[in-house]
Symmetry: none
Subunit: 224 residues, 2 copies
DNA sequence: GCAGTGGATGACAGTTCTGTCATGCGAGGT
DNA sequence: ACCTCGCATGACAGAACTGTCATCCACTGC
């Protein structure tokens, strides 16, 4: 279960939040000051931090900076009544994953907490790893395999990246330039035809896969 | 560059948003009605949709439902002056990635748009393909990469399968026999030490990864 | 301390993957 | 009908991946 760290100086709010989030199934730790919060955040792993901006010792922005400096992937949801919109924008730009203005409805906080945790968090590895491709065919994201008519075909890294790119833009034409940038990470075309070659390999490997050629432009995965 | 679809019936707001987002470097398309918005959303690929809840033909919730039904990974940021907090919570629960109340400051909208679009590499399939590994570290199921402290490390097929197997049983000891069966598909041990070798390769590649050795038994990924 | 066992490590060869090149083929334009 | 350009195709070399082996090291029990 996900762990949440609350850093806020109002003890009443801390208690309410702790109760609400605990009953929502999270493991909650609280801190009343920036220094106590930092100590917890830097020594124990947390999945999400709820941070108030007005703390007695440091500002919330300073706390964020320290944490994100050592844990760039840390997720911080800022809770504050900041009257200045520039401050709100500031924390979002500085790396907070969300900002919720006080006062707020508990249900909205829980919804946002759930949302920010679902994101890079604990995904049950079963669902959402398949992308439908056509009748009876799908791409298994986790296994890098294409399944069609009960036949699993393994894809190499590049092949998989290419299929995925096309699927994400299914129906739209992808230019070679876009494919080179998105799949190969090349920002310019050094005069290669890898794209053509890999399209061919995909077509050979995945006969039911409808990759269309758009002359003078690029390729397109037919919208299912 | 990321593509944004705006669906709102107020033409003034559409124009302002289009101007602001275009100058922020995004490619913007607008629609004034739910049906026009749905047509665009379902035929062209978008990275983010800005959706008003009060539209002339359908409600924003209905639009969301249709889109998320066919594109579960679509990202929708709802913009609305919804007075009822239950409605705000509703759209967040239903799958919107964010909610911003009207009226809003343009800078905050841009900050939130940027935030929801951040990490364009993993964005479109980004959700639900990551498994948390520890503080700031996670495994990207779709890309077969390990991300720790902003460093992406590519994994080979075998390496990835092995990490995944361990993660799925995090905290439990996995015997060599189990690993050979589950990762290599070998139902008997022909007297190999591949497991040891690959554990080593993983440790070398992923220093922050806590794989423990259990003597005479096997290996274990420390429960986060 | 010493021996024995199991895991860690480094090097190696077969296989697969990746990108390049030369060539073949076909759609459009003249 | 012919020419031209762009995509398709097959072959190839370098790089990466995979599994094996021999050796080294550390823990365990004596």
């Amino acid at each position: 279960m996900s762990r949440i760290l609350i850093v806020d100086d109002e003890s009443g709010l801390r208690e309410v939040l702790a109760r609400v989030l605990t009953s929502a199934g999270y493991e909650v730790t609280s801190a009343a000051t920036a220094s106590a919060g930092l100590r917890s955040a830097l020594t124990e792993p947390f999945d999400l931090m709820l941070l108030d901006l007005n703390l007695p010792d440091l500002t919330g922005e300073q706390v964020m900076q320290v944490i994100l400096d050592s844990q760039p992937e840390a997720r911080i949801l800022v809770l504050s009544a900041a009257p200045d919109p520039r401050r709100r924008v500031g924390v979002l730009v500085a790396g907070a994953v969300d900002y919720l203005a006080k006062p707020f409805v508990n249900a909205e906080l829980v919804a946002r907490v759930r949302l920010r945790l679902r994101d890079p968090g604990t995904a049950p590895t079963g669902e959402h790893t398949r992308v439908a491709l056509g009748p009876g065919a799908y791409l298994d994201l986790a296994r890098h395999e294409l399944v069609a008519a009960d036949t699993r075909t393994a894809l190499s890294h590049r092949e998989f990246d290419l299929v995925r790119y096309l699927i994400e833009r299914r129906g739209a034409v992808c230019t070679r330039k876009q494919l080179l940038a998105g799949v190969w990470g090349l920002e310019f075309d050094p005069g290669t035809n890898v794209v053509d070659v890999y399209i061919r390999r995909l077509r050979a490997k995945l006969s039911p896969l409808p990759i269309e050629t758009v002359r003078n432009v690029g390729y397109r995965l037919a919208a299912s």
